[in-house]
């Protein structure tokens, strides 16, 4: 599903975002990616999502070899790999409904089906009543949930969640984690980057810890201490 070998990402400013990372993640796994700020979590996601090209090593995601990804393959990869961005990246001039629907329009879904799926996913994240608001009218936590809804509406096979609970109060954060757990039960592979040790410790899932761009530990049913 995801197989990474000796992957490095050297930024233009000679700073290693990732340094010799090797990692394998199976279909249907739920993995926490932890580490201090600047340890390379977002960089790893960006590589897996095709936003950054690896400098060396190999990274296989589903059928795609990221070191040799063609421009045409990028959109197709992204349909299989949903991402919840640390900074949301919602379209400011489109309503919540339109933001989510866009992903399905890209995939050529029919209007009726789009309507149905968007309402389902809005229901799931508990924001049905905000469907016709614009993102700027929403709180940070609400935007976060819209972002999740958008990332899962087309049921990607892999979901990358970068700090999905960063802006949420503990209760809502826990709800979101439950939600991600539910999505994981549909065989979606989920990787969550987070600083939230309480949640990590409560969930008892696999934990991969990064430090200065390298994997320093990888434990099943891990702790974050």
């Amino acid at each position: 599903m995801i197989a990474i070998q000796s992957l490095s990402k050297l930024y233009d400013n000679d700073c290693y975002g990732l340094n010799d990372v090797s990692l394998a993640i199976d279909q249907g796994e739920f993995v926490f990616l932890v580490g201090p700020s600047g340890s390379g979590k977002t960089t790893l996601f960006n590589v897996l999502h095709g936003r950054e090209r690896p400098s060396s090593g190999r990274a296989q995601v589903l059928a795609y070899e990221l070191t040799r990804l063609l421009a045409d393959q990028l959109p197709v990869l992204r349909r299989d790999v949903g991402m919840i961005f640390q900074d949301y990246k919602l379209l400011p001039k489109r309503t919540v409904y339109e933001n989510i629907a866009f992903v399905l329009q890209v995939l050529h879904y029919k209007r009726r089906r789009i309507h149905q799926l968007v309402h389902q996913v809005l229901d799931l994240v508990g924001l049905t009543n905000k469907a016709h608001d614009y993102p700027r009218a929403l709180s940070g936590g609400e935007q976060q949930r819209i972002c999740i809804a958008r990332a899962i509406v087309h049921q990607p096979r892999i979901l990358l969640a970068d700090e999905p609970t960063g802006n949420l109060d503990p209760d809502t954060a826990w709800d979101i984690m439950q939600l991600l757990g539910k999505i994981n039960q549909r065989k979606t592979t989920i990787i969550v980057a987070t600083h939230d040790w309480r949640i990590v410790n409560k969930m008892r899932r696999r934990v991969v810890r990064l430090m200065n761009g390298s994997v320093v530990s990888d434990t099943i049913m891990g702790h974050y201490a």
Partner: protein, 291 residues
């Protein structure tokens, strides 16, 4: 492939949401096309004017006094032998004298000139003005028949040179203008797309293909092109008609292009160019943004 309708709706939404930018692009396009159209009309008129003068150029051959009918006939055959001859006209000296006398009837020419001083004349009109010179130098060798040849030689050369120069520089200038127009339009549309740069990036992040993103922008460019060039063509037509009418009244002999099909070709051409520029501008801009 989603329906064209989807992309058209997206384009409409895009145009409406960019409000001011849309208006700005529209104005830029219309003004650029107006300038281009103005110079096109100017160029065809100048060329037309030059053609007009050049086509008036003719060769006048004055015959010697001591030649026979037969000499003239032979000479006529020689002249007909040139393939650039369009028309040959004989003016008998007696007829010419009568005409002249009538023209100046008030001055009583005959009081000062008792005998007809005019020679028999042959007027040659040609199909290709650039060949006049060569033809004249050939005809001049028939010294037994020809007394003198008048063809406005210096003027001919000048006008021909000017006409050629005007033609080349006119079209060259219009080509440059077209290029400048394209660049202005590309950059204006680029501004509007830059304002939506984030939007484009996010679309890419959620898996939209390049064409999926491009289509609405290209349709927006098409709409801008159609509306912008229609506005400019309508403005151009009315202002040209007004100006041409005014000039015609002031200088009735000025050979202006008026009610001619060439004008409709220009208007149609401008409309098509404007539309193509709109589409191309949008396509180039969005493609650069997608890089």
């Amino acid at each position: 492939m989603p329906s064209l309708f989807f992309f058209i709706r997206e384009a409409a939404i895009g145009l409406r949401r960019s409000g001011l930018m849309t208006v700005l692009s529209l104005c830029t396009l219309a003004v650029s096309m107006l300038v281009l159209g103005f110079f096109l009309l100017f160029t065809v008129n100048v060329n037309n004017l030059a053609d007009f003068f050049v086509s008036r150029l003719e060769i006048r051959v004055f015959f010697r006094d001591d030649i026979t009918r037969r000499d003239k006939r032979d000479f006529h055959t020689v002249v007909q032998g040139f393939d650039t001859v369009r028309e040959v006209e004989f003016v008998d000296k007696a007829v010419a004298w009568e005409t002249l006398k009538q023209q100046y009837s008030g001055t009583q020419l005959t009081r000062y000139i008792d005998k007809n001083p005019l020679p028999d004349t042959m007027i040659i009109r040609v199909t290709d003005q650039t060949k006049i010179q060569a033809m004249v130098s050939k005809l001049e060798t028939y010294t037994t028949v020809v007394d003198d040849i008048v063809y406005g030689g210096y003027i001919t050369e000048r006008i021909q040179l000017l006409s050629k120069w005007l033609r080349i520089s006119g079209w060259g200038f219009n080509a440059l203008l077209l290029l400048a127009t394209l660049m202005i339009i590309v950059n204006t549309i680029r501004l509007t797309i830059m304002a939506r740069h984030n939007e484009v990036e996010i679309m890419q992040l959620v898996g939209a293909t390049r064409w999926f993103i491009r289509w609405p922008f290209v349709i927006e460019g098409f709409v801008l092109g159609v509306v912008g060039s229609t506005v400019s063509v309508v403005m151009l037509k009315f202002s040209y008609d007004a100006v041409a009418k005014y000039i015609q009244q002031q200088f009735p002999f000025m050979p202006l292009i008026f009610n001619s099909p060439i004008l409709w070709w220009i208007y149609a051409g401008l409309f098509i160019i404007g539309t193509v520029l709109g589409v191309m501008g949008a396509y180039i801009s969005i493609s650069r943004t997608l890089e």
